[in-house]
Symmetry: C2
Subunit: 310 residues, 2 copies
């Protein structure tokens, strides 16, 4: 029952969407997620994260959710030397338009870090990655290990007749890490059996921040299918196509337009504003607003169905 004393920090995965681009707030020119100390002045962790982020970004935080607590001994050399470090990570959504630069913080397209996760324009680009993964599969020491690796690759990347599951972001990243295909792996001393240049394996991050980002993306992709959290990312008024583009940006795949509208409407999550959107060369779209009243109840209950299907 004696609690050991450890170092603790907060790490935030802050998400916004601009048009069709999912953005994540980074520091150190895109190499790190924003992190800060666990300050004791706040009542709860959640409140601490909110205050800290809002002070840093000057943006209100619409939605905050705890992601995961990491305390691996082998996370990095620093933690090995100084004893265990605990990182408590949070996912936060903001509807503000990301500025270009904000005291050293930058909003980056999250697919810069995970190019293979964006399948809105076809997943064909994967083939090089898949080939490299197969090399790793074959390099396994035992036949049983070959089978195990092969299955993992097939499931994670939707091969052999399986469907692509967009929520397996973390599994895919960890597979690539184990295979030595992402830069963090070679940095951490994991051997690689392929030439990784030009494979589109994304930008690396410091420490295990890319893993944390993967966790956040996976969580958000899962969340939008059963909670109307997308609206936390939308401006006050939007067209149904805007909304669809946002969901598609997060999910990394395209949706059937008519079915998407049907879903949104039958959920009664939005209402017309009576205003039309700026003409864009086609039939003008109605502007909708989010029905905050119903959200309160829905968000709390989770009674009703999702908001993102193929």
């Amino acid at each position: 029952m004696v609690a050991s004393s450890v170092a603790a920090e907060l790490i935030a995965v802050l998400v916004a969407v601009t048009g069709a681009t999912p953005q994540v707030l980074t520091i150190a020119r895109g190499a790190s997620l924003p992190s800060g100390p666990l300050s004791p002045e706040h009542r709860s962790l959640q409140a601490g994260v909110r205050a800290w982020v809002e002070r840093q970004t000057h943006h209100p935080l619409g939605y905050v959710e705890q992601l995961y607590t990491f305390a691996d001994n082998d996370r990095n050399a620093v933690s090995r030397a100084e004893g265990r470090a605990i990182s408590i990570s949070y996912l936060g959504l903001t509807r503000e338009q990301p500025n270009a630069e904000d005291d050293g913080a930058t909003w980056c397209n999250w697919y810069d870090y995970f190019p293979w996760e964006d399948r809105r324009h076809g997943g064909v680009g994967d083939s090089a990655i898949i080939l490299a993964l197969h090399a790793w599969v074959e390099a396994a020491p035992k036949p049983s290990e070959i089978r195990a690796r092969s299955l993992r690759v097939a499931v994670a990347f939707g091969l052999e007749g399986r469907r692509w599951n967009e929520e397996l972001v973390l599994q895919r990243y960890e597979l690539l890490y184990e295979a030595g295909l992402v830069a963090e792996a070679t940095r951490d001393g994991i051997a690689c059996h392929s030439d990784t240049s030009g494979l589109g394996l994304g930008l690396p991050m410091q420490q295990d921040h890319r893993r944390i980002l993967a966790t956040g993306i996976a969580r958000l992709r899962a969340k939008i299918t059963y909670r109307p959290v997308v609206f936390e990312l939308m401006p006050p008024m939007f067209t149904l196509l805007d909304l669809q583009r946002s969901v598609e940006a997060l999910a990394g795949r395209l949706l059937h337009k008519q079915n998407f509208r049907r879903l949104v409407e039958q959920q009664e999550l939005v209402e017309e504003t009576g205003i039309m959107a700026e003409p864009t060369g086609g039939r003008p779209a109605k502007l909708f607003r989010f029905r905050a009243d119903i959200l309160q109840e829905r968000a709390y209950a989770g009674t009703k169905p999702p908001l993102a299907r193929s």
Copy 2:
């Protein structure tokens, strides 16, 4: 980026099922969840939890999942005095039959702590609780607050035509806490507007352990609907009714027998052993075993549908 130093402990919600009773491992004669220090010798938190639990209980841990990290300043007097304490809670499932006693640890029916969560034999017993909650609703200072409270109660407890959502375990507990109806609330100095004796409000626990337990139950109830984790709680061979009783025990409600079988079979998660169960006064049931091969893939992918519907 300077991480503050804090005290950290692990708290485990260990679950087993005996017949139709969901059990949770407790210490201090049912007043606490087992907790231990975060020992630095393990590679990861997960590994640390597993080793620690298995050393304590001498049972293999089938499934481990991180629940939540609590670090509220107001968690209890101790943390206030000594600075922030971090508690990292885990959910663990074991298929071992719980012994009566094991070095001070006791398996308890989790509905002893949440009687209102067991609706397998009707939810009528709620009326007293509902009345007390209504008293709290009416005691709100402002009309807007009355409406807000009223909505929360209705959603959490499935009133006014809403359906009972068995995953809202934590919301219900927190509502009862705020209303001063559970013993922990009065202990923490929250006023109550009703006579709470004889309402069936469950056994209290030390600190916020009952809240952590509620978190674990909610997580497990959600999990069984999309991941075949129930099997972690089953013996090597079981009848389909055994399996159903286990799911019902966790979910706190009865399921349609035929539909349950249909679901289990179409998921191909079990296979016949060729052995029949001991006669129990009716037609003898076939004994099934869990198909570990398919689980590996399923558990990892989460491709296929759930295993628990009404």
